[in-house]
């Protein structure tokens, strides 16, 4: 009796596959193709929306809403192929999609997002490196000395974050101190020329040289120019190298911290104007 029951089950299943199998395969095909189209279409839509200079959050929300609408249409079409085209199912799908869209639209802006993308060079607290991956709980960063650091997202949200790739360009500072007896104008000209003739330095904003300060032991010159973010480090190092070598070649002496000590004996005569009073004070003491 048991064997007959099993046989009946298989027979019924065979009949079902014979009658509904084609519809089932078509429904499955619609579902798979639909999911692939949604995934690829979502990427294209994101690129398209980014051209309109919308906020990343807005782009993401609009993208999610459109993806959900298309997904509901795909599911409804697949169910229709299986013969489930009742009005109730369509209404349920419509209500579920409306609820999901509502939740996304209302709560998305309240969910904190990380201020960088994978591949960006970022400084979080004291850690500087390239972002390799982000998950719900933590962010994986590879520092420039090869360490992999897992940073809790809560720490990132509550800490200062510098994203070096948020803007395309970055300013390079070339500060150098020259002696008081050196030719300031010549030094400024050399420094400006070095910056202008470097292909990586942007034409606008123009490279500029300032006299930053008349410091204790030197006249401080500051060269300022803009380069692409990706070329910042090598540009800065090479501009400093060129400045040192060109100054050497042109006879501009770079100042270094120094302290002149004058030692006077009792019968010593002052070497510089004003020192006489100072020597007298020392004698009185």
């Amino acid at each position: 009796m048991e064997g007959t029951g099993t046989f009946e089950k298989y027979r019924a299943m065979g009949e079902l596959i014979a009658s509904q199998g084609q519809h089932f395969v078509i429904a499955l095909f619609i579902l798979v193709v639909g999911l692939i189209v949604i995934k690829q279409g979502s990427k294209l839509l994101k690129l398209l929306l980014e051209r309109f200079a919308l906020k990343p959050q807005t782009v993401s929300t609009v993208n999610s809403i459109i993806s959900i609408i298309v997904l509901v249409i795909v599911i409804a079409t697949a169910l229709e192929q299986l013969g489930m085209n009742s009005l109730v199912i369509r209404r349920v799908l419509f209500l579920v999609s409306l609820a999901v869209i509502g939740i996304i639209a209302i709560f998305r802006p309240l969910i904190p997002t990380l201020p960088f993308k994978v591949g960006n060079t970022v400084k979080v607290g004291d850690l500087l490196g390239k972002i390799e991956a982000t998950t719900i709980l933590n962010t994986r960063m590879r520092t420039f000395d090869g360490k992999t650091v897992f940073i809790p997202n809560s720490k990132i949200i509550n800490d200062f974050v510098i994203n070096y790739q948020f803007t395309e360009t970055r300013r390079v500072k070339v500060d150098v101190g020259i002696g008081y007896d050196q030719d300031i104008l010549k030094a400024k000209q050399i420094l400006e020329t070095i910056m202008i003739e470097d292909p990586r330095v942007k034409v606008t904003p123009r490279p500029t040289v300032y006299v930053l300060n008349l410091a204790n032991g030197c006249v401080q010159l500051g060269g300022r120019c803009w380069v692409e973010n990706a070329k910042y480090w090598t540009s800065r190092c090479e501009l400093i190298e060129k400045t040192k070598l060109r100054f050497n070649h042109e006879g501009i002496i770079i100042a270094f911290p120094q302290l002149d000590v004058h030692h006077y004996h009792g019968d010593a005569s002052p070497e510089f104007p004003g020192e006489e009073d100072h020597i007298r004070e020392i004698d009185v003491k």
Binding site: D198, P199, R200, K242
Partner: protein, 104 residues
Amino acid sequence: MKVVEALKVIDDGWVRKPEGFRVHFQKQENSEWVTEYSPGEKQKALDSDVVAWRLAWKLAEARKSDTPENDDGALVNIYVVDDLGNPTKYYASNQFEVFNRRDI
């Protein structure tokens, strides 16, 4: 003359900003001296003259001929050129320099 026009005059007439650099060198092929560049003329030029001069110096050191008679594999007349093919001054000395100079 507007300031913008003055700046244009300065840009055109004071310091030229090259678009890239290549290392020029000559080597012997079938007993003839041929000129080549690194990176090649169809490849993207280097954006740093410091890197280009460093490459030139290393090439010169790596392929110095033992004697003037033995030029097999030697690379001579090594210097840096800009995107127009004009020799570039060595950034350290601000002079035109040639490594492994050879009159050919």
